[in-house]
Amino acid sequence: MSNNPHSVKNGNGSLRKHTISVLVENKPGVLARVSSLFARRGFNIASLAVSSTEDSEISRMTIVTQGDEGHLEQVIKQLNKLIDVITILDHTEDDLISREVALVKVHATVDNRSEIMQLATVFRGEVVSLSPREETMILEVTGEEDKIEAFLESLSKFKVIEMVRTGKIALVRGKRMT
């Protein structure tokens, strides 16, 4: 809710998910500075992936944060104040190729094993481990967030033992840099 009709920060914009790429100095403590900033300012992190880049001195953080335009503006401006942050790109309007990976360990008996495998095939997933004696199976699926969600949803009728999922990584299609 807005307590000030003028304020951008409190504007009643929609709570969209925004993906931003943050290029940072590849130095010790940088992740701590970024996460400390999110904690202190009360910004949420829906997903975070840190990786090396083509330049060994630079790391990339791909961050998904949820909030209105004012929230996003503050996230970007406050991140920009960190000395170790080199550039930030807001991908809200970009044509993005994005991926997440999920690994799911399910209880798989002789009876339902093939059904589970079929399901994985539908999502172009793979069975990466199978332990018939312990009746477990690990599935891997890669894709955009929606696909992972749908996959997990359809697995929910089986007994999921444990699950792990990466943060989102993304690149902008075409010549524009990410």
Binding site: S7, K77, L82, I83
Partner: protein, 560 residues
């Protein structure tokens, strides 16, 4: 040359003349470097508490415009600096804090006096460094001063592991400049923004300037005066902006906000254009944001992009150094007169001036009026936090920037005495007065020793109401006079306390004793003087806009 000597050599290159601190195990190499003959240009000031070292460095910085430097050992020394660092980040003060750290090979092992000061201070510094090789030191110190003093000023921490302090450098090369690809400062105002701003200024019927700490830190008072005289607009300053515009100017409306003047707050309510210069729309200023300057468009001149649109949307945002923006804006606007608006504002000033009840007893406001008179409004004034701070801001006439040093953003009790001493180190020829409260003063009174030993005499006006007055005022007004933890009970005897340190102590109970006591204090120039003023704890600060409310709920001094 070892790492510690490289630190000291780098400080010299930065023109540092004074550093404030306390030594200890991990800082021994640094302190040893400070007694080398090559370090003779740097005065190493031994204080009595590291927090006071940080506040002294702040007082030094704010009164002079130079970067303040403080130093502490690892562990408790470093953690004692934390409040001072937090104070300087909220009040945008350029500070370099140097801490000792345990040796790199034992970092992370809970070694003796190890504390992760980089981690602890991460949310309250502009940046921090910890060299992993002595050869990084010259570059890091250069970068620390560059970051602390440019853009929006702030604190930078340099944490020095003991083994790095002791290790030899290959070669000491001090960089001419540093390039940080993640740190860029825009100083110049874009001409398109200036044009848009000038258009709004030319159209405005009731313009008001709202001026703050950013204007002080860039020393743009002359540019401000020129603009004000060209467009004939009234000016109100924040607590941090006091002195940026002279109180003696007829268009000066004193402070706005919670304890601002009625006429400043009314001008904010009625203005149709608010020209905000180096201010951050703090909640002590705006109260309820929705009802702050409800009829105004906003031009916001601000060096930190993150402040723009943070609390209040600005129709025109000029992201630049206020000094540059003011010069350009001055050239771009048409000369203007606003006779009706001017008339209105002057009438408010006359109708509802700052006032207090005169009943023959000693009043805190009267003490400040006398102080203003006897010092001709020319002293550097520092304060602590509470009622006395608000009265000082309201009643002392400030006519130049860097004259009023106070803890605004963090509101740190105990800031005042060390800040006064820092100001005296930076301005030994100026008269420095501390306006303190009996609560706040007891948080850093140990620094009386520092004032005596380094012969930096300051004058202390102790506003003694035997209470944590500001908190008591809130308990009076909003908690049904249920006093909880606010009675200080008239302990200690401050006159004797001052004397114990070799300072002069004077006790004042009646209005007629004020002037002679101040005269006596001003005659003493070789020692610090403390005047203990006793007055009625019932006195409240007015006007007051209760927290989160607006000018419509402003409470004025009751007439009775």
């Amino acid at each position: 040359m070892n790492g510690a000597e490289a630190v000291v050599e780098s400080l010299k290159r930065e023109g540092v003349k004074h550093i404030f601190g306390i030594s200890g195990g991990a800082a021994l190499p640094l302190y040893d470097a400070l007694v080398q003959p090559t370090a003779k240009d740097i005065t190493n000031i031994l204080v009595r508490h590291e927090q006071a070292a940080a506040h002294m460095a702040e007082g030094y910085a704010r009164s002079s415009g130079r970067v303040g430097v403080c130093i502490a050992t690892s562990g408790p020394g470093a953690t004692n600096l934390v409040t001072g660092i937090a104070d300087s980040v909220l009040d945008s003060t350029p500070l370099v804090a140097i801490t000792g750290q345990v040796a790199t090979r034992v970092i992370g092992t809970d070694a003796f006096q190890e504390s992760d000061i980089i981690g602890i201070t991460m949310p309250i510094v502009k940046h921090s460094f910890q060299p992993r090789s002595p050869d990084e030191i010259p570059w890091m110190i250069k970068a620390a001063f560059h970051i602390a003093s440019t853009g929006r000023p702030g604190p930078v921490l340099v944490d020095m592991p003991k083994d790095i302090s002791e290790a030899k450098l290959k070669e000491f090369i001090y960089p001419e400049e540093v390039h940080l690809r993640g740190y860029k400062v825009t100083r110049e105002a874009a001409s398109a923004d200036i044009e848009k701003a000038a258009e709004l200024v030319d159209k405005a019927k009731k313009p008001l300037l709202y001026v703050g700490g950013g204007l002080v830190s860039t020393d743009a008072h002359n540019e401000l005066l020129a603009l004000v005289d060209k467009i004939e607009a009234p000016v109100t300053t924040t607590l941090m902006g006091r002195g940026a515009f002279p109180d003696s100017h007829p268009m000066c409306l004193n402070m706005l906000g919670m304890h601002g003047t009625a006429y400043a707050n009314w001008a904010v309510r009625d203005c149709d254009l608010l020209i905000a210069l180096g201010v951050r729309f703090d909640d002590r200023v705006t109260g309820n944001l929705a009802r702050f300057a409800p009829n105004a468009k906003v031009i916001h001149v601000e060096i930190d992009p993150a402040e723009i649109h943070k609390n209040r949307y600005a129709e025109v945002a000029i992201q630049a150094d206020a000094k540059d923006a003011l010069k350009k804006l001055h050239d771009a606007v048409k000369p203007a007169k606003h006779p009706e608006w001017r008339q209105q504002v002057l009438q408010w000033k006359e109708e509802q001036p700052l006032r207090y009840k005169k009943d023959g007893t000693l009043k805190p406001q009267y003490i400040l009026q006398e102080l203003a008179d006897i010092t001709r409004g020319e002293a550097i004034l520092t304060t602590d936090v509470g009622q006395h701070q608000m009265w000082a801001a309201q009643y002392y006439p400030f006519n130049r920037p860097r004259q009023f040093l106070t803890s605004g953003g963090l509101g740190t009790m105990g800031f005042g005495l060390p800040a006064a001493l820092g100001a005296k180190f930076a301005n030994p020829d100026q008269e420095v007065w501390l306006v303190s409260g009996d609560g706040s003063f007891q948080m850093h009174l140990q620094e009386l020793a520092t004032s005596m030993i380094y012969q930096k005499p300051v004058k202390i006006a102790l506003f003694n109401n035997q209470h944590l007055g500001m908190v008591k005022q809130w308990q009076d007004m909003f908690y049904g006079e249920r006093y909880s933890g606010v009675q200080l009970k008239n302990v200690p005897n401050f006159k004797k306390l001052a004397e114990a340190y070799g300072a002069v102590g004077i006790t004042v109970n009646k209005p007629e004793e004020v002037r002679p006591a101040m005269e006596k204090a001003r005659e003493v120039d070789d020692r610090t003087v403390l005047i203990d003023f006793h007055y009625d704890p019932k006195e409240h600060v007015y006007p007051m806009i209760p927290s989160g409310m607006s000018v419509d709920e402003m409470r004025l001094q009751p007439d009775e």
